[in-house]
């Protein structure tokens, strides 16, 4: 599979997926170039660098990147690679610094990326070094409601166009409050899993009553959370929707109840309900009455590697992914509510998460099954709900008739093909923004 390869990995008529994309090194190498080298990638959150000169160390795909807020408050995404030999100039996870010095020969960069000091500029370089051209390599940076995205592609469309109508749904979680959100984390761990399987899994609600039954059961018993059976999932009125490359699920919520997140229990539900009601006028002002009252984002992924909100699946070779788990909290929420959400999030979806610990062996065996010559010839079957999705009068995107469907997965691998087969951004389709974004909230927050 070379550079001129045309990838055809998902058959839209049958839902068969070519398993080689989960294990082949050449495919992976092309992904790093054509997907992670092009797409807008989530890299952090403004609240991780709240003060001038703060920095947060992150990744764009495999490449280490320093998210900085310079002395004038502007955000930068700087490739963590000294322009002299390539050593990293930052080895900390986060901090506050006006300058980053390479520990090899002492080249120093400002937190806006400019090369500021080189030992021996006159004595060794005869004043011939072109310092202005040797700043840290910078990615384009834009933010959505405080979430920082970056791209290496100069020809990429705006972040607003990249998110498109997916933002109409995403706003119902990330853009509800005037004060915005704060990020905590990340916890980081390596999973022996191809990155795409954990992204695909985000709108796979079919797996929940099997994979997570043990944890759902004890939480029904100990926390009074609702049962999670196949019947409940099949009869759920929730929807599954694919919008401009992003795979989402959402709940139609006409009953004026809060979004059902981890952290809600029989004990804490009244807190969540009270907060939901108290903030509803503000949310209506920001998002319009329809979205504020009727639309609640569920499990989702942001293409290519955002997983269940602001969490990252960072590729580390075809057979391994570094998982970063953050929790986002609304800044203005009561402390008791923040506490409940934080505990619920880390106890269910982290490395030790009650839910998440049961995902990993399933995913890793999907990856492992794609390695052998025999098994990689046997395709994945993603045929569920074929022919049962389309446009919807009220909801933007391609909406599945049922909550439990593999339509999002088929379209995710189709989106993957669109990126992999494109020569440049000009070849990658972007759906026009047609949803009505009522209310005062903007992409900035």
């Amino acid at each position: 599979m070379g550079a001129t390869q045309t990838y055809s990995v998902v058959d839209p008529a049958s839902g068969k997926v070519d398993r080689r994309i989960f294990s082949d090194q050449a495919v992976y190498d092309a992904e790093m170039e054509k997907i992670f080298g092009r797409a807008w990638l989530m890299i952090g959150h403004e609240s991780l660098v709240p003060e001038v000169n703060d920095f947060f160390h992150t990744y764009m795909g495999e490449d280490p990147v320093i998210l900085t807020r310079d002395g004038r408050g502007r955000l930068h995404a700087l490739l963590n690679m000294c322009r002299h030999r390539g050593n990293r100039v930052v080895r900390c996870d986060d901090g506050n610094a006006t300058r980053f010095m390479c520990t090899y020969h002492g080249w120093s960069y400002g937190n806006d990326g400019r090369l500021e000091h080189v030992p021996g500029t006159s004595e060794a370089y005869y004043d011939a070094l072109d310092k202005p051209s040797l700043g840290l390599v910078q990615a384009r940076v834009e933010t959505y409601a405080g979430i920082v995205f970056a791209t290496w592609a100069e020809d990429a469309p705006s972040l607003e166009a990249f998110l498109g109508d997916a933002r109409w749904y995403l706003d119902t979680v990330f853009n509800r409050r005037d004060e915005g959100m704060q990020a905590l984390g990340p916890m980081k761990w390596l999973e022996p899993v191809n990155w795409k399987t954990m992204v695909d899994n985000c709108s796979d609600n079919y797996h929940v009553p099997t994979t997570h039954l043990s944890s759902a059961r004890v939480q029904t018993r100990y926390l009074g959370r609702p049962r999670l059976s196949h019947k409940d999932q099949f009869e759920s009125p929730n929807k599954h929707v694919f919008v401009n490359g992003h795979a989402l699920t959402f709940r139609e919520a006409p009953d004026n109840t809060p979004r059902y997140v981890h952290g809600i229990s029989k004990d804490t539900f009244p807190l969540f309900q009270a907060y939901h009601e108290a903030t509803l006028p503000e949310v209506e002002r920001r998002l319009g009455a329809f979205r504020a009252r009727h639309v609640q984002l569920g499990n989702h992924s942001i293409f290519p590697n955002g997983v269940l909100g602001f969490r990252l699946a960072l590729p580390r070779g075809p057979l391994q992914t570094e998982f970063w788990h953050f929790v986002l909290l609304e800044k203005g929420a009561p402390e008791a509510l923040k506490h409940a959400i934080r505990i619920g999030s880390q106890a269910n979806n982290g490395a030790a998460g009650l839910f998440e610990q049961d995902d990993v062996d399933n995913w890793r065996q999907v990856t492992a099954a794609s390695k052998s010559r025999l098994r990689r010839r046997i395709s994945q079957d993603l045929s569920m709900g074929l022919g049962h999705a389309g446009a919807h009068p009220e909801y933007p995107g391609v909406v599945s008739e049922r909550y439990i469907s593999e339509n999002n997965q088929r379209l995710f691998y189709r989106r993957w093909e669109e990126f992999m087969n494109a020569e440049s951004w000009a070849d990658i389709p972007i759906a026009p923004i047609i949803a009505r974004f009522e209310g005062t909230a903007t992409i900035r927050g």
Binding site: C92, R221, A347
Partner: protein, 182 residues
């Protein structure tokens, strides 16, 4: 000769600190065997009702900022369980559907370097180091190293763990999940 030796043993004195150490080391050895023999309900009995079972994150920070290396309570942690969550983790294993631990891991907890100091209120602060080996399914394995700092309290004559802070010596965990107890 034999008589002489036993007379010496009878006069051996230990300081209160040493007595505490001698009392607690078997407690930790007992706990390790409970975990490695998968007697998790008995293991739960070693904790108080108000236990906090806490595993913060470890960050890479400069030496001069060492105070920021371990994330505080209130930040995102790897684990921050109260008794109810610990009980849920144990109860889950008996559902027959806790796939991450069914078939179960094979573990070996080596606990040592015990330092114990009495606190003013009758509780004891006990610090230990651990090496925990986990083998799972066919070839998955991991070695977890770290420390535990426990606050121990006497409840009806028996030591119970009222607070456990587990510091893993890792930044990015190298294993697929943390489905075992430390």
């Amino acid at each position: 000769m034999g008589k002489h030796a036993s007379a010496e043993a009878a006069t051996l004195t230990v300081t209160p600190r040493q007595a505490l150490w001698l009392e607690l080391m078997p407690f930790y050895i007992h706990e390790a065997w409970l975990l490695d023999e998968r007697k998790f309900k008995e293991w739960l009995d070693l904790f108080t009702d108000d236990v906090l079972y806490f595993m913060p994150r470890r960050k890479n920070v400069l030496r001069r900022e060492a105070h920021r290396e371990v994330t505080p309570l209130g930040d995102l942690s790897l684990i921050e369980d109260d008794r109810r969550y610990l009980e849920m983790r144990v109860a889950r294993l008996d559902t027959g559907m806790a796939w991450g631990e069914d078939p179960p891991s094979r573990t070996r907890h080596l606990i040592g370097n015990l330092v114990a100091e009495p606190l003013d209120d009758g509780e004891v602060r006990a610090k230990t180091a651990f090496l925990v080996y986990r083998s799972h399914l066919e070839t998955d394995h991991q070695l977890l190293a770290g420390s535990r700092e426990d606050v121990l309290r006497r409840v009806k004559g028996a030591w119970k763990i009222a607070k456990r802070t587990i510091l893993l010596d890792a930044n990015v965990l190298l294993d697929k999940n943390l489905s075992i107890f430390l």
